[in-house]
């Protein structure tokens, strides 16, 4: 199955675009996607542990089972607002 992965902020620069498609085995979890991304994009690897994953605009835990065609967003630590 395929999932669409959306990238923001620094990740977009790192991967070279706002969106990639990742092939996964049927029944793969968010954890499985994370591992696959680490293999395909070594520059992402050191950052993966600090990311949250959102599936169809909802944050999901690493054991969440993905489905074909899901839109998964990689959410690096948030820095909205001002005055961090």
């Amino acid at each position: 199955m395929k999932v669409k992965v959306r990238l923001f902020a620094g990740l977009k620069d790192l991967v070279g675009g706002p969106e990639i498609t990742v092939d996964l085995e049927e029944g793969a979890t968010v954890r499985g996607l994370e591992d696959q991304l680490g293999r395909e994009y070594p520059r992402l690897k050191p950052l993966l542990a600090s990311l949250a994953f959102a599936v169809d605009e909802e944050y999901k835990a690493r054991d969440y089972t993905l489905r074909d065609d899901d839109e998964v967003a990689l959410v690096p630590p948030i820095s909205g607002g001002c005055d961090v």
Binding site: R6, F8, A9, G10, K12, D13, V30, S50, A52, F53, A54, E57, Y59, K60, A61, R62, A73, V75, P76, P77, I78, S79, G80, G81, C82, D83, V84
Partner: protein
């Protein structure tokens, strides 16, 4: 109202969103682009957002506020794109019958926005730039 916009933010209409005959206190927070961060001179900021999800999470923050302060009203605007020094990035307005609740609910909303709303900022200095890392989201 919970809105993400590329246009300059005006606090006036945000205040009017929450004003009503039962509100004795309105607290408004403006997050403004500062000229300096940790001793480095800031030229401008660039905000990126997962737009559709950011609006959804802002609404969620609003629901949390109303669950805790049922007599409150809240309205939020966040800007994205390029912001110059002195411009407003975030407006949070909260009304409540009494000011203690209005202050607490406003601070709570800001904290939650910075925890769950997927927005990021890049600082651009005279001699470089970097995306800032803030709160890791608890998945």
């Amino acid at each position: 109202m919970f809105d993400l916009t590329e246009d300059p933010l005006d606090p006036g209409p945000v205040v009017e969103d929450v004003r009503h005959p039962g509100s004795g206190a309105i607290v408004i927070f403006l997050g403004v682009v500062r000229d300096e961060d940790h001793g480095r001179k800031v030229r401008y900021l660039e905000y990126d957002a997962y737009r559709s999800m950011a609006e959804k999470e802002m609404r969620k923050v609003g629901e949390e506020v109303l669950a805790r302060w049922p007599a409150a009203r809240i309205s939020v605007r966040h800007r994205f794109g390029r912001l110059e020094v002195g411009e407003t990035a975030l407006v949070v307005a909260v009304s409540a019958p009494h000011r203690g609740d209005a202050f607490e609910a406003c601070r709570y909303a800001i904290d939650r926005i910075k925890e769950i709303v997927p927005i990021w900022k890049k600082q651009v200095w005279e001699d470089g730039e970097a995306w800032l890392e803030g709160h890791p989201v608890q998945g």
